[in-house]
Subunit: 199 residues, 2 copies
DNA sequence: GTCTATAGCCTGATAGAC
DNA sequence: GTCTATCAGGCTATAGAC
């Protein structure tokens, strides 16, 4: 199947570049700075072209969210297969790059219905994958999942990692060491680099 | 001391109403919607008056943050004196009204230096008060604070409560019950309505 | 302290040529 | 698919009357 309706230039290259440009601006300067003119300039096209690919700016924002979500989900699925999934969850959610953009969308979601719906959908898929991975890990380590419900454990890890990343982004680190150490002591099988030490 | 330099009309009434109007708009529609025109209209004054009280819109945002912070700190100090402080922390940070606005400022902080600095300052004062309260509570209940570092405990409570409130704001509740139950089981002296049952 | 009026710029979005 | 050109309106911020 070469093409059902192939594009003219080079696939959806321009469209993709617009999404990437918008992503970067939203990350660096906030959603309010992602105007059609600024996005177009960063993608090296003219302003009106944005409206050829996206009916409104909100549609562009939605596609930025979707593209980012899919990429994150793929990365998540990949990295949870190797090593200690709990530690992987911790590290991924500690990455400031992810949390900053995610915050921007959370702010947007509070007053744009469509963004909120998409974010909800994404959050639920993420939680599914994460708790499945934690379930397998706990089972493999012989932990009683009645006492340690996987979904609760994965929320604990991811949400606390995110909180600390958010705080770090504004320069707050007060209490971070204590919390991390507390978690490491309470859930030793969670944050150790490798499950049993076999690699 | 009747007045060092008393204002003309009725104290800082207009100024305060501008801050309140801005607060409400930021909460309901996001910081991008809090323009000088919209704020002025909601406060029932003309647009130019905003610039009489605040040199730039960013200065207004900063004052909105400061006013909100002071109010929250006062509320925090009051409510931590009564009953079970841990439960109080949980409830306060579960209130969507607080977290939504707080998110808006976190998004702003990522690209406006002055907001970031203020937020950092506020976050540290909050953490101080919260861990002091938790310290007293743990001591009163005879808990070993070497095993349960107060600052870690207070972060655990507040940040998880906030995360869940944020998710609830977009309609996500997946895993919330499990996490809450897990915390209640692991930290029973934290979330019970009253410490020993003496009231 | 509050107003009117305005400068100057940026915005989302559309029409229509190529 | 990409462009030029444009409309109508919103924005921050200032000047100056009352």
């Amino acid at each position: 199947m070469p093409a059902t309706q192939r594009a003219k230039t080079s696939d959806g290259a321009t469209r993709r570049r617009l999404i990437e440009a918008a992503t970067q601006i939203m990350h660096d300067e906030g959603y309010a700075a992602a105007t059609s003119r600024r996005v177009a300039a960063k993608a090296d096209v003219k302003q009106a072209l944005v409206y050829y690919y996206f009916p409104t700016m909100d549609d562009l924002f939605l596609e930025v969210l979707r593209a980012g979500s899919e990429a994150s989900l793929a990365r998540l699925r990949d990295s949870l297969q190797e090593d200690n999934p709990a530690r992987t969850l911790w590290l991924i959610n500690s990455d400031t790059r992810n949390t900053v953009l995610s915050n921007e969308f959370m702010a947007l979601a509070n007053h744009r219905k469509a963004i909120g719906a998409e974010l909800k959908h994404y959050a639920e898929r993420v939680r599914d994958i994460e708790s499945a991975a934690v379930t397998m890990m706990l089972r493999a380590q012989g932990v009683d999942i009645t006492q340690y419900p996987p979904v609760a454990i994965s929320m604990l890890i991811t949400q606390l990692a995110r909180s600390m990343a958010n705080e770090r982004a504004v320069g707050v680190s007060y209490g971070h060491e204590e919390l991390q150490r507390f978690l490491e002591e309470r859930l030793p099988w969670l944050l150790s680099p490798s499950p049993g030490g076999h690699t």
